[in-house]
Every structure is written in structure tokens, then in C-alpha cells.
Point group: C2
Chain length 310, copies 2
């Protein structure tokens, strides 16, 4: 039996998993992400943690297929980042540095893309090789898997689908500087924005007026049959469904996997997205499946492991 | 020196090229596409033509790396079509049938995707491995190349970018049944439509009122400095540029290559697309290059050859 490490670097902690080749997780732990001094300690800290684990488990280097790493920044096929928002890194050859620190083959990817790969391998996209994952969190992230491989793109910015323009008439600006990005409607913050607008426009009765308004309370109200909440969910779903129809005509996936905090609403969410998707899908893509993500916070370490298992 | 064949199957003729491994074309010819009887003769006719050429050139099977084929239909990674608009074929395993007929390794792809691969190898996308080709003809076709390989997708329908929705308010229907597809604005027919609308709306003086109105006369008038023609070109460019910005955020190409009949207008066309592209592009994709296709009708046989040269 051979093993590998899946490493998911975040801005506050690094999640690490030790996997068997067949996908079983043997061990899982976290270390702190030391971002001070331009993040100079991050990779050495990870290398030390992996070394310690190998000693603990009495594993030889030869038993380790490789180290897969998800990085919260655009990262090229060659493992190079040109700056990060949360880690302090400027230019860094992550792959080369990690291989020098450990003497073990290392593969890298963007964290959202790597999470998508994880969901394809062991989660909501299981059994498929062409998949789009949409992560509905504070923002909207994504990952596109083509023929079992991450679509990395020229600058490591493939799958940044939160910034698809879905409304050319939008007057409010997105965090990226543009207007009408999917993220402005389909993220947790976006849904809250749609909800507040709707509540200001209508005098209809709704349980949403009784407490805090956010993505969770909107979908909770949908489950109660609240008509205003359903209208808000329909608007969210129209933006997301139309965007996915445009992605499908370009990349022709077998399945869409929807994850992130918003997806915790559960299966109730899917028809709100599927219906407008089908209205706008090109005929060749009309029957693309929809699924919920299944791995939660473990998607990153799973996908990172899959990077080296191939 | 080894050789390969590049075959581009069209509805009326099959273009065939004999290539050296290094990309040089040694010979180039056409045969008729016999679509009658559900197209049963098409592949045997091609196989016979290749055999004849090998005898003429005194080539042995062992000297042929393979046969690459572009097919005018969605075709899976495995070489299977499930129906064609122009060839008469229903379900057909093109790869398997061709290998049985010739005893030579065969690789297949959709014709628009294969033409994109050709432009990457020897044309407007030379030197790049991440590319989107847009073919502006009677319709709008396309091909997406990721890491040097065609993005085929689950149903062989990857890169069908003519059916990206770019206008959710459109009332006229696209040939595909949907509304607001890129093809309705950026194809030769689409540009004619935009031009006729514009001429009906404005009383401004324009040389376009002196003769036939079509994509060619519009761009000819642009070259003469005609203000109305420039407005029409700007509208065309806005739809196309915005669509490419959305494609870039998903697939992060190094270069867009613009081909097809409309692109014969030449370099005058590019700024009309680049300007709105830059207005809408995600920052990571803002500097993606624009180029014109260079291979014309030979893009198909070149890309087909590249399919087997890898």
C-alpha cells in the first residue's frame, strides 16, 4: 500500500490529510498558518509537520506517492504563484520549494479548483470526469474539471466563475471592480442583498420581517412555504441557472456540484437553479445533472491528495 | 521521417492533407462527400483515398503515425457521434470504423474544435497552449484549447460558444430555439441583422444605403470612416467582447483567435472587440491577446493532423 498527503492551505490554518491510494483517510490534522514575515514559515512548517507524521507512522519516503497542495491564490500548472491575498507570499515557486524541503514529489492547484477535484473523486461529482463546482460562500468560487483534470488556465485563474457577468444593467459595483458579477447575486452576501431589496419593494407578508435576513433565513423561510422567500430564491436561482447554462455551452460538463455555506440549505435549493438552467441550456447540455457537495471542509485535502494520485 | 493524415469532413467535400511530423504539408486534395444511404460510403471513400495516396508515394503503414479526423458534429473523446446534420450518420463509432478500414491509429474531434487546434499549432494561436477560437461565419462556432488539448466535454459539445446567451431581453429566436445567443449578433447573418435594424432606426447619412448590407459592406464602410457602420461594428463588438470576457473568467486563455468569413475584414475588426472585452474582463484575464486566424480553410486538416501528432 502506498500513501500520499493532501494539504489545504488557508489564511488561518493548514488542513492536512494522510490518505491511502484508494482514497481512505488515515489521519487528519491542522496546523497554524504563520503569515507573518511574508509567510516565509508556511511551507517549512508544513514540511516539518509531514516529517513528524511520517516518523510517528514509521513511513519511509518511498511509500509516499506525493504531496498535493491547494493554495488560496491563482497558481500556474508549474506551481508558481505571483501574489496571495491572505498568506503574505509574493512570487513563489510552491512546487519547487516544497520538493526541496521534503524530497517528495509535489503537485499544486488553486484551493477552489482542488476542492472541486475532491468532490469529483469522493463527493457530489463521484463517477464523473467532466464537472463544474460552484461554491456559494461569502463570495462565489468555482472549479472546472475536464476529463478528470483541473482546468487551470494560462494564469492559474481558470474557474473564477463568481465573476461571470450575469446582469449588464447592474449599477452596484462588485468587489472585483466590475458590475453584475454572479457573486453579487448568488453568494451568501448576494442573497442577503437580493432579500433586503425585495423586502423594501414589497409590502407582502413574510416571516422574513420577524428576524435577521440572510441566506440561511431565506431558505429556512422557503422550507416554511413563505411566498416572498420563494421569490428571492427564484431570483437567486435565475442568475445562477443562467450563468451555468453559459458555462455549459462552453465546457459541456456531466454534472454541476453546488457547495459552500449556502448549499447547506440542502436539496430544496436545487430546483430553484435547475429550472432556469433548463430554460436557457443549449440542447446538448439540457440534461446535465445537479448535485450538492458532500465533503464540506474536507474537499480541499481530498482534492489535494487526488492531485498526486492522478 | 514519419507522416500523418489530416482529414476534414464537410457536408459536400472531404479535405485531406498529408503532413510531415514537423507540420509541413506534403500534399493536399479533396474528395466528394457521398452523404446518400446514411453516409455509408464516407469513411470507406476516405480510407480508399488514403490508401491510394500511400501507394502513389510508396509509403508503408509503419511510416504513418495516424489519421486525424474533424467531423461536423458533436463527437465524444472515444470517437462516437450520435447523429449529424449534414452527413446522414446516426450513431457511429468513427474512430473504431476508420481503424478497422485502414489498420492505422485514428483520432477524432469536432470540426470547429479541430480547426481551433490547427490555429494553435500553425496559425493565429502559435506559441500558446491555452486558446479560444471564435469562428464568425454564417453561424458562430468555436473551440477551446486547454493545455494544448481540445476541450471536448461530456457530450462532445464543448466550445459551442455561438450559443452563449448575451442578451436576456432578446425577443427574436435563435436557430437553436433559445433567445439572445451570441450567434444572433456576431455571425455574418447577425451583423446584417444589426445593420438593418440600425439603418431603420437612424436617418443619419451612410454609404451603407447605397448597396447591399452585409458583414463585408459594413466593415468596408468602417474602413471608409462611415460613422453609422462604426456604430454597427461597435454593437457587434460589444456583444462579442462581453461574451469573451465571460469565457475568459471560466477558462483563462492566453489568446483569442478570431476566424471565419467575418474575420476577413482584417485587423480593423479587433479593436471593436478588444475595447469592450477589456471593460468587462476579470483582472486576471485583462491582458489576454487577440489575433486573427491565419489558416483559412486549411485549419481543419492542420488541426486534424495535430490530433495524432499530439
Amino acid at each position: 500500500m502506498k500513501y500520499c498527503f493532501g494539504v489545504d492551505i488557508g489564511g488561518t490554518s493548514v488542513k492536512i490529510g494522510l490518505f491511502c491510494e484508494d482514497g481512505r483517510v488515515i489521519d487528519k490534522w491542522e496546523i497554524k498558518t504563520r503569515t507573518e514575515k511574508e509567510g516565509v514559515n508556511i511551507l517549512p512548517d508544513i514540511a516539518a509537520s509531514l516529517k513528524k507524521k511520517m516518523e510517528e507512522k514509521k513511513m519511509q519516503k518511498e511509500e509516499i506517492v506525493g504531496i498535493g497542495m491547494g493554495v488560496p491564490a491563482p497558481i500556474t500548472e508549474e506551481g508558481i504563484v505571483n501574489g496571495t491575498a491572505n498568506l503574505g507570499w509574493g512570487y513563489k515557486n510552491v512546487k519547487e520549494e516544497m520538493e526541496q524541503l521534503t524530497g517528495i514529489y509535489t503537485a499544486t492547484g488553486n484551493d477552489a479548483n482542488v476542492a472541486a477535484l475532491g468532490e469529483m473523486w469522493l463527493g457530489g461529482g463521484r463517477g464523473h470526469k467532466n464537472m463544474i463546482m460552484v461554491t456559494l460562500g461569502t463570495g462565489v468560487g468555482g472549479g472546472i474539471i475536464i476529463n478528470g483534470k483541473i482546468l487551470t488556465g494560462e494564469h492559474g485563474a481558470g474557474g473564477e466563475i463568481g465573476h461571470l457577468c450575469v446582469n449588464y444593467d447592474e449599477k452596484e459595483q462588485c468587489g472585483c471592480g466590475s458590475f453584475g458579477c454572479l457573486e453579487q447575486y448568488a453568494s451568501a452576501t448576494g442573497i442577503t442583498r437580493l432579500a433586503k431589496k425585495k423586502l423594501a419593494e414589497t409590502s407582502e407578508k413574510t416571516i422574513l420581517r420577524n428576524g435577521p435576513v440572510n441566506a440561511k433565513t431565506v431558505f429556512d423561510a422557503v422550507k416554511e412555504g413563505d411566498a416572498v422567500a420563494k421569490d428571492i430564491a427564484a431570483e437567486f436561482g435565475r442568475y445562477l441557472g443562467y450563468a451555468l447554462a453559459n458555462l455549459a455551452v462552453a465546457t459541456d460538463p456531466a454534472v454541476f456540484v453546488i457547495g459552500g455555506g449556502v448549499s447547506k440549505a440542502g436539496k430544496v435549493l436545487l430546483p430553484f437553479v435547475e429550472k432556469p438552467y433548463k430554460e436557457r441550456a443549449f440542447f446538448a447540455n439540457a440534461n446535465t445533472e445537479f448535485a450538492l457537495a458532500e465533503l464540506g471542509n474536507d474537499a480541499g485535502i481530498c482534492g489535494a491528495a487526488k492531485l498526486v494520485l492522478g
